[in-house]
């Protein structure tokens, strides 16, 4: 009787594992989530930073503009997203991701890259980061990436039964860029929507500043990341355009941000491309993040400046 029970139990467990793996595989073959594509290939070059870079820098435009420099044997991947703060976790993942020694690395920075929850020491910030997506995923280069789905995918697997992103204004490209279009076949994000979302972003910033503080741990790992990336290719620091209200907010809380970043860039002999003062030339969909057309125009401008730097550098 015990033997029969154990056999039945084993059958149930095996069936469970088989059904689970079947649906994990099914999900992996379709749309998983907006970040999944960032974890499915090795990279020669990277776009790093938070959500502004995630939606605002298009690898397509940069590849097109800089193709003559031969940086892209392995692809340029947009590896920026809202949980990617500087720290040991992000640093180690970047190391796993890069597979060549001749890449370009665009690091998008804003004060937000350097904050951590208040009251945490270095060890606790590390533990905090480990609980986020980057800390949960061991494999960042496989396609399909089952490791990502099993450890970091937080939604139910029934999503594998359809192949849709729930927010149909977003296109998640294979190279990790999440393009946000104001218009799709069904509706348009109006200026009124944008104004409302901007007010929510400002509110979010105001709430966040109460709970977070600037962290020397993140600052130190920012330097460490630059030093490492310099051994793997050319590094560019950039501050992206955003709505002036938000930039004002950031500058109020870190008045010498641009000066300090410029100093770090000089110290490491890398350029700091600051576009924050040209924010009026670009449009965001929520005050912080560039919509598709602005993202393309901005990336083109960024690529042109990188090209100029590289031409001067090679001379």
């Amino acid at each position: 009787m015990l033997k029969s029970f154990v056999i039945k139990l084993c059958i149930v467990i095996i069936t469970f594992i088989a059904v689970y793996l079947f649906f994990v595989d099914k999900l992996a073959k379709g749309f998983v989530d907006p970040h999944y594509n960032k974890f499915t290939q090795e990279a020669g070059s990277l776009i790093l930073g938070l959500s502004r870079a995630n939606v605002g820098i298009s690898p397509f435009v940069i590849e097109e503009e800089l193709k003559k420099y031969g940086f892209f044997d392995k692809p340029l991947v947009n590896f920026a997203f809202n949980e990617a703060h500087f720290g040991e976790v992000y640093y180690n993942v970047i190391k796993k991701k890069i597979k060549t020694n001749n890449g370009i690395f665009i690091i998008s920075i804003s004060p937000g890259n350097f904050t951590a929850p208040s009251g945490l020491n270095d060890e606790k910030v590390f533990e905090y980061d480990e609980r986020l997506t980057l800390g949960k995923v061991d494999n960042v280069t496989s396609s399909p990436n089952y490791n990502y789905i099993m450890n970091a995918y937080g939604a139910p697997l029934y999503n594998g039964l359809h192949n849709l992103d729930q927010w149909n204004h977003r296109i998640s490209h294979q190279n990790g860029w999440n393009e946000i279009k104001l218009k799709n076949n069904h509706n348009i994000i109006t200026d009124k929507d944008i104004e409302h979302w901007k007010s929510l972003t400002v509110k979010f910033y105001n709430e966040k500043i109460k709970l977070e503080q600037l962290s020397t741990y993140r600052y130190n790992y920012f330097i460490k990341t630059i030093e490492y990336l310099k051994t793997k290719g050319k590094v560019f620091l950039t501050r992206m355009p955003s709505h002036t209200d938000l930039l004002k907010f950031e500058n109020e809380h870190w008045g010498r941000f641009d000066f300090e970043m410029d100093s770090i860039a000089n110290l490491h002999d890398i350029p700091y491309l600051n576009y924050s003062k040209q924010s009026n030339n670009y449009k965001t969909y929520d005050g912080s993040h560039l919509e598709s057309e602005s993202a393309k125009r901005f990336t083109k401008r960024l690529a042109t400046d990188i090209k100029t730097y590289l031409s001067n550098y090679s001379e």
Binding site: F16, F23, G119, G154, P156, Q166
Partner: protein, 482 residues
């Protein structure tokens, strides 16, 4: 170690196999080592508190039993209580206590500590040991029952340590009495397929409740409580209703997994719930909710206050609910939540004759009275739970204000995923229907009283539901924080 973690899925079979392979003589040691490992998987250094609590209560228990004079008995009881309450105070309430003292002194313009001193006494960094409120209350019940002569002390220190730390109920209860659990731990349990089957089914139910229902509701609850100033009242109403079910299912899930785990090894733990959602009054709700703990409060605080100290019931009820609130967490929100329940209870008792005379006048049937009682009771419980879920009182007040002053917007502006929203409501109805017909203690019968074909179909359906609909976030159980 979380019940809903991969580590636990490996740990449990090893514990069960080891338990049945070993002879009865060594099982206590196996379970004790396993329980300590289970506890240490979270914060290893905090095991010392569990051991201190165990040793002090073991010693006090024997000394109390052996003492001839009542005064000596009393002093050992005091030692036990002071140790346990002291551990609780330092590790759970010290920061809360000091900030409140500081606030009061600030209010009167006195500075207790300067800024440098405040930094050096940073009580906020004290780690809250997991399960501390559960095991300290459990061991205190042991000491008090020996003092009262209800039970004899356990002489075997290993078995006593196991009673304090038995891993299925260590971190979030049920709060077991020594008179129930210790005799079971001493019994030589033979392997029984029915125990294994029943245990696995009860656990499976718990996993379903946690992964598919409670964590799904939690997504909406988190979103609603993140925006208490939302202009969409209906979203806030939904958030608070869902929270009532989330906390019930989350805690009930933990209890089911605890009960199921213990059952696989032949042990029966106390049922912690008896369909609280169907309670037809506030008083009844508290008799059906977190039973092991409410019985603890009744036996060790309420009754002594009323019987021995002859305290008026109203004050005794307030004290009990104050302790209940504080037990849940070092935050005034829990105290307010609990005291509001006390207030409702008192009003309910005080207005009983008037309500009954109105019912009689209106000639309402018993069913209709119960329905009315259920509806008002559950609405009030849901309202008070807003304090439980909010991070502070002002947040709760803002939430309630925006929820109750209905605006014209009937738009449910949470996450805009209507399929998931529908699924949440559907799952609540399904779970409540099952609880209505089977009760909390007989859910396993759903899988056992069937033909073979029905059993296999249900098993496959269960697998599909868990795989497809579980929320894979490894959220810890809400009651872990207490």
């Amino acid at each position: 170690m979380l019940f809903n973690s991969f580590e636990f899925l490996l740990f449990l079979p090893i514990m069960i196999i080891g338990f049945y392979v070993l002879s009865h003589k060594y099982r206590w040691l196996w379970l004790l080592l396993g329980s300590y490992y289970f506890y240490m998987a979270h914060e290893p250094e905090l095991i010392i508190l569990l051991i201190v609590s165990t040793l002090v209560d073991y010693y006090c228990g024997i000394k109390m039993y052996e003492a001839k004079k009542k005064s000596i008995k009393k002093s050992f009881l005091a030692l036990s209580i002071v140790t346990n309450v002291g551990i609780l105070f330092v590790f759970k309430y010290l920061f809360f206590f000091t900030t409140n003292i500081e606030w009061i002194l600030d209010f009167f313009g006195t500075e207790l500590l300067n800024e440098q001193e405040v930094d050096s006494y940073n009580f906020n960094n004290i780690l809250l040991p997991i399960g501390i409120s559960f095991y300290t209350f459990q061991t205190m019940s042991y000491s008090i029952e020996i003092y009262r002569g209800v039970i004899k002390p356990e002489r075997h220190i290993g078995k006593f340590a196991l009673y304090v730390s038995f891993f299925p109920q260590l971190v979030a209860g049920p709060v077991e009495r020594a008179s129930r659990l210790l005799p079971q731990l001493k019994t030589n349990i033979k392997i029984d397929i029915n125990n294994l089957k029943q245990g696995i089914i009860i656990m499976a139910w718990g996993f379903f409740l946690k992964l598919v229902v409670a964590d799904r509701l939690g997504i909406y609850v988190d979103e609603a409580f993140r925006n208490p100033e939302s202009p969409h009242s209906l979203s806030l109403v939904l958030g608070s209703v869902f929270f009532c079910f989330q906390i019930y299912y989350d805690f009930s899930a933990y209890t089911s997994i605890a009960l199921g785990t213990a059952k696989t090894m032949g042990y029966d733990l106390i049922q912690n719930f008896n369909q609280p959602i169907f309670a037809t009054s506030i008083a009844e709700f508290w008799k059906r909710w977190h039973i092991s703990f409410t019985q603890w409060l009744r036996d060790f605080i309420y009754r002594p206050l009323v019987k021995n100290s002859r305290m008026p019931r109203l004050i005794a009820v307030s004290i009990v609910f104050f302790v209940n609130g504080l037990w849940h967490g070092a935050n005034w929100t829990f105290v307010v939540w609990s005291l509001l329940n006390a207030l409702l209870l008192v009003i309910e008792i005080a207005t009983k004759p008037i309500r009954y005379s109105i019912f009689d006048m209106l000639k309402l049937s018993k069913k209709l009275r119960e329905l009315l009682g259920w509806f008002t009771g559950i609405c009030l419980i849901i309202l008070t739970l807003v304090f439980f879920r909010s991070p502070n009182i002002s947040h709760a007040m803002l939430y309630l204000k925006n929820m109750l002053f209905f605006n014209s917007s009937l738009h449910i502006n949470i996450l805009n995923n209507y399929f998931e929203l529908f699924l949440c409501v559907f799952l609540i109805l399904v779970v409540q229907a099952i609880y209505y017909y089977k009760g909390n203690s007989k859910v396993y019968e759903l899988f056992t009283e069937r033909t073979k074909l029905a059993k296999y179909s249900m098993c496959l359906a269960y697998i599909l539901i868990i795989v497809l609909f579980a929320i894979n976030r490894q959220n810890s159980f809400i009651y872990f924080q207490f």
